[in-house]
């Protein structure tokens, strides 16, 4: 014991010099983190706080969970949640499919492909208002869709956005057209990052194109596919402008997804407290794919 004391007696209780040196950069990061916390965290906390209130007498009064209870007892909420799921799955699936097909087709170097690649990005670059206007005209009774149908012998005077059975699929199709270049770009980048040697090795081993794609290319693109889908689901479930501009949530609430309902509640009914509660619920829903992604990532990193 004595010898141990003797050894320790001359040593300063301060941390090793190397660790002290490493702490410096973190101190300088504090302002950035504080700013980030303020910019991101404060609005979220304010929003959650507002969801426990109601406007009365010119001020906000605390009502606990009343807004949430009221919303969860409203059949329109469940209708809107189902629509949002239908919308998110439909748009994401279509966009991914179109993007994947386009990426596979463009994953080669030829004169034509080099020139067609920028063209494929145009829908993504166009402003949402422009795209909505284009598709509204397409879907009118005398629009392009009905004209194309008549070319193949199907006479239709359907106003596609004005029918509650066709409005949501019509809006999904328009959104898929607008957003597929996002997947196209990411998947093309993913495809081009797969080492050529691995493909050639598969070819030498006798694998055909599909087998190479399935067994060699896709496993190497798993991370980019999952990341793009998570980002896509988040963006799609929050998508607002296209639906609002094309249908306003109608007809008969057939396209009233949660973001459109949130907008109507906040800026049409001016019920900010109810809208805040709704936005908290949307936040929780959107967090689901993020959490799944994080869990998957952690599991992978443990292996």
């Amino acid at each position: 014991m004595t010898s141990i004391k003797a050894v320790g007696a001359g040593i300063s209780p301060r941390r090793p010099a190397s660790r002290r040196r490493n702490a410096g950069p973190y101190v300088w990061l504090i302002p950035a983190f504080a700013l980030l916390l303020f910019v991101v965290g404060y609005p979220i906390i304010e929003n959650i706080n507002a969801s426990f209130t109601t406007a009365a007498g010119g001020t906000d009064q605390y009502v606990g969970l009343a807004q949430y209870k009221s919303m969860l007892s409203d059949p329109l909420f469940y209708h809107s949640v189902l629509l949002t799921i239908y919308w998110t799955v439909g748009v994401t699936a279509l966009q991914f499919l179109l993007g994947a097909v386009a990426a596979l087709a463009a994953d080669r170097s030829s004169w034509f492909v080099r020139r067609i690649r920028p063209v494929l990005i145009i829908p993504w670059v166009l402003p949402g208002v422009v795209v909505a206007n284009i598709w509204v005209v397409f879907y009118n009774e005398d629009g392009l869709v009905n004209s194309l149908l008549s070319l193949v012998g199907i006479h239709s005077d359907q106003a596609w956005l004005a029918n509650q059975n066709t409005a949501l699929p019509a809006v999904i199709l328009a959104a898929a057209w607008k957003g597929f270049p996002f997947y196209f770009l990411l998947l093309l980048a993913g495809l081009q990052s797969v080492p050529v040697e691995t493909r050639e090795a598969a070819k030498i081993d006798g694998a055909n194109s599909f087998q190479t794609l399935k067994g060699v290319v896709l496993p190497q693109m798993k991370a980019i596919v999952i990341t793009s889908l998570v980002l896509g689901v988040i963006a799609t479930s929050n998508y607002f402008d296209g639906i609002y501009l094309m249908t306003g949530g109608g007809p008969s609430n057939a396209t009233l997804t949660l973001p459109v309902w949130l907008y109507n509640t906040a800026f049409s009914e001016f019920d900010i407290a109810k809208a805040s509660a709704l936005s908290v619920i949307i936040l929780l829903i959107v967090l689901v794919p993020v959490i799944i992604r994080l869990i998957a990532q952690r599991k992978r990193s443990r292996r």
Binding site: V27, A55, A56, G57, G58, T59, S70, V136, Y139, N140, E141, D142, A159, L161, A162, N163, Q164, N165, A167, L245, M246, T247, G248, G250, P251, S252, N253, N264, F267, S268, E269, F270, I272
Partner: protein, 423 residues
């Protein structure tokens, strides 16, 4: 370490200075009367209001009134956010249909104690129903500025082309429907009756709403405790509207702007529209004589809607130091020659009529007549009017699509409407 401490002390000092500064700048409740007034209105392209404000500032030395104009599409939002934040105009023009939303949240304070009720502001000088529509929960929280009456407008030339005999003084539902169908029969580019279904207020004021009233129906009982959508009268109103809508383009069902109908009416491809005087085609689009505003129903059953006018309100956050300038400004604003600058059309004051020179033409007489009849709002003002309007819009869309029978759609709406009354 010493530097960090210095920075911390400096930051704390700066925060204290900012806090003190912000406290002092927000103390609007101080005793000294303020001579400054901030007025918000929806954008006025004519420039008349701005000219009036400039004239007021010149004729009232010592007072400074500033005008902020916000585009119509963003106006309700801007007001809502300002009211909620407690920072914004000292007095504002407010859409009569969003007024109850603001009033029910306590965002507006009684205006009469501030501006008085003598001279032009005497209760008797206002059209009674407009004055009533500017009150909420028994309190006069605003003053009416103008009226947003709608009537059936029809294109005489186009109706004649379709072989429709002149309507004359009165017309029945059957006559109107027959005329609309004949115009539609002229070809695909023609619409007998053009409606806009994609905006809640159109449903209340310009679509099914007025026809329910016209048919003797209502949306709720007088006590506002029970919906009355399941009545035969309401069903008749919806059914007639559905028949009329069938002579127009279905795409309008989800249109979010009324411009397509107005443009079509001006271009001579729309036979009829239910609209206000502000959408009568101007002379540069077509000959003014092509169009007529018709009293389209027997005298005791005029098809109209009186809602949609503007009111003037003072937010709750405005303190008493502003009351002097508010009183001076509002009393001057309601002088006949001035109030018409704010409406340009039909002022809510009886004394303002003579100054409304823009509406002297005989074709506008019907609007004055309706004003004199003290037409009621299709839906009585209440805190959940917007939700009710949304519900009616959705119901109207179901009825027009034919996905549900009118009776079934209204029965379903009845339950949802009742829920808005118990909130």
């Amino acid at each position: 370490m010493r530097n960090i401490r210095k920075i911390g002390v400096a930051a704390m000092a700066a925060a204290m200075v900012l806090t003190v500064a912000s406290c002092s700048s927000s103390s609007s409740g101080s005793a000294a009367p303020s001579k400054e007034l901030s007025v918000w209105i929806p954008s006025d392209d004519s420039g008349r209001v701005a000219a009036y404000i400039a004239a007021f500032n010149t004729s009232h030395p010592g007072y400074t009134v500033t005008l902020r104009q916000i585009p119509f599409a963003q106006y309700d939002n801007a007001l809502g956010q300002a009211f909620r934040a407690g920072q914004g105009p000292d007095i504002a023009q407010i859409n009569g249909t969003t007024f109850p939303s603001f009033a029910s949240k306590g965002y507006l304070q009684p205006i009469v104690p501030i501006v008085g009720d003598t001279g032009e502001l005497a209760t008797a000088n206002f059209y009674p129903n407009l004055y009533q529509a500017a009150a909420f929960d028994g309190k006069q929280l605003s003053l009416p500025i103008d009226t947003g009456t709608r009537v059936m407008q029809y294109n005489k030339k186009l109706l004649a082309k379709a072989g429709v005999a002149p309507f004359g003084e009165t017309t029945s539902y059957a006559d109107l429907l027959s005329a609309a169908q004949k115009v539609r029969a002229l070809g695909d580019k023609y619409q007998g009756f053009c409606y806009v279904g994609g905006d809640k207020w159109y449903t209340v004021n310009s679509n099914a709403g007025p026809f329910v009233i016209q048919s003797g129906g209502a949306f709720m009982n007088k006590e506002q405790t029970k919906a009355t959508l399941d009545t035969p009268e309401a069903e008749a109103g919806f059914n007639f509207f559905k028949s009329m809508a069938a002579t127009g383009d279905k795409s309008n069902l989800v249109a979010t702007a009324s411009s397509t109908c107005v443009e079509g009416f001006g271009a001579g491809t729309v036979g009829m529209q239910f609209d206000g005087f502000w959408d009568i085609p101007s002379k540069d689009k077509a000959s003014a004589t092509d169009f007529e505003l018709g009293q389209t129903m027997p005298k005791d059953k005029t098809t109209y809607s009186s809602t949609g006018g503007w009111v003037l309100g003072v937010p709750t956050y405005v303190k008493s130091d502003k009351f002097d300038v508010l009183k001076t400004f509002v009393n001057d604003m309601y002088a006949p020659k001035n109030i018409v600058q704010f409406t340009g059309l039909m002022p809510a004051t009886k004394s303002g009529r003579d100054a409304a020179t823009a509406l002297k033409a005989p074709q506008y007489d019907i609007y004055w007549k309706i004003l004199n009849e003290n037409a009621n709002n299709p839906i009585p003002l209440n805190a959940n009017l917007v939700a009710q309007a949304n519900l009616l819009m959705s119901t109207m869309q179901s009825v027009i699509q034919g996905t549900q029978s009118t009776k079934a759609a209204l029965a379903q709406a009845q339950t949802a409407f009742d829920a808005t009354l118990t909130k």
